[in-house]
Point group: C2
Chain length 231, copies 2
DNA sequence: CGCGGCTTTGATGTTCATCAAGTAAAGTGG
DNA sequence: CCACTTTACTTGATGAACATCAAAGCCGCG
């Protein structure tokens, strides 16, 4: 990780409207005081499950994974977070310890504010508190929704789901580089590494996708959509 | 459903401290104005996914299921809510429509307050907003945690989990009456009705439990705990 | 250069959903 | 209140979906 000297502050931040829309300039100045901008390299761990929450994070650029580790070193990836995501919102208000670990799966720049400052503002500015709640609830609902949606799909449907997720939601291109390993895909959509590989190969043989290591290109998007739906 | 005339109001409510601890008497009077206490019979539906959220609910006595219905009439039970649960907290602050349906699985008494009143108080009283967030976040974290925990268990482990859940968390007795059908158990822990029955019978044959219709008695709790853990 | 982690493919066996068929229980209308 | 219909429960047989085990190639890193 590496601290970054920033020129422009919160006031002109393009993400300001997303959640800080209800804060006035004085309140933003207050946040600014403890604010740091930090750069993480792919692979760096930002927070570890069980450690104290002292900071409120939000993602400016890059990609993160939010995950949990269980007995037997089994890891579940709960979600992938992209730019403008408020990753640390989860469990920040119910716990003083992180319930999830966070790691960079691409080079990532994060804005960090003291968590007590956020709580202070939430307490003193009701509009802001409502914005936080809205965002938090939305994020949680998304996690639950995708978890239950994936759960009922067969393996082929899960792979189709995750490929289309990266192509449409994350990279907005049919050709992209997978930011995670085959094993991590399995941790995200609940299947073994071997089967992730097997089904990717199957899709390749069926001309649905092109594969070159981590590079994926979707060749037949209609077919993939169909597999996602019925699989 | 049936309206109930109540003598005592929020001020003396045993659950007040849980979430309304930061409201003063004036604020409680404000809530009281729109407050209703409603009785639902087992099987009654309180809210339907997709309908407008106008009310804030909390459970005084009884048991509810919170669930989602998917294409093909497939139902997932997200959680069971018991006394002192704030069932409508989920999605209330991110949506104007319910994201989940709620139904009574036992005779239930619910306190209902206008949702706008709650939002108004959250806006004007920061402490209260923080309490709501805390509760909300906690509830969501629990859902996610149990979902991922169940997901990795085999069927026997899931049944053990749910039996111990009812025995320890809900009824606090080794003998209890299941509030839900075999099919609903399947919807809760993600397995087919047939396999729910099959494994219950198996546990019965192995003398781990006693079954008489909906009555369950856990005879060998150590063994069940072991199955829950390793299954 | 060797070691560990990631990737790949094949063979094998287990777990689980599905199908079928029947009994019991509970709700519904005449 | 009884015939009728639907819903819940139960067991067995079958096959598909999936995890596990094994073995080997590849790549980056110390």
């Amino acid at each position: 990780m590496k601290y970054i000297n920033t020129v422009s502050g919160c006031k002109n931040c393009p993400y300001r409207a997303l959640i800080f829309g209800s804060l006035d300039n004085k309140e933003l100045d207050f946040l600014e005081k403890t604010r740091k901008e930090i750069f993480y390299k792919k692979g760096d761990v930002l927070t570890k499950e069980g450690t104290s929450i002292n900071e409120f994070l939000y993602l400016k650029t890059g990609l993160l994974k939010v995950y949990k580790t269980r007995a037997g070193n089994k890891t579940h990836i709960i979600r992938i977070a992209g730019p403008s995501d408020f990753v640390s919102l989860l469990s920040m208000f119910s716990n003083d310890k992180y319930k999830y670990s966070i790691a960079a799966i691409e080079d990532t720049t994060v804005c960090v504010v003291d968590s007590e400052s956020i709580k202070f503002l939430a307490k003193s500015n009701g509009e802001f508190a409502l914005e936080l709640m809205k965002r938090m609830s939305y994020t949680y609902d998304e996690i639950i929704d995708s978890t239950y949606r994936i759960r009922q799909k067969h393996l082929r449907g899960r792979i189709a789901y995750i490929l289309l997720y990266f192509a449409q939601k994350v990279y907005r291109q049919n050709r992209f580089e997978l930011p995670i390993s085959r094993r991590e895909i399995g941790e995200l959509i609940n299947m073994t590494t071997e089967n992730v590989i097997r089904i990717l190969s199957e899709f390749r043989k069926d001309q649905i996708i092109f594969i070159d290591g981590k590079i994926i290109e979707i060749k037949d998007i209609e077919r993939l959509e169909r597999i996602k739906k019925i699989g």
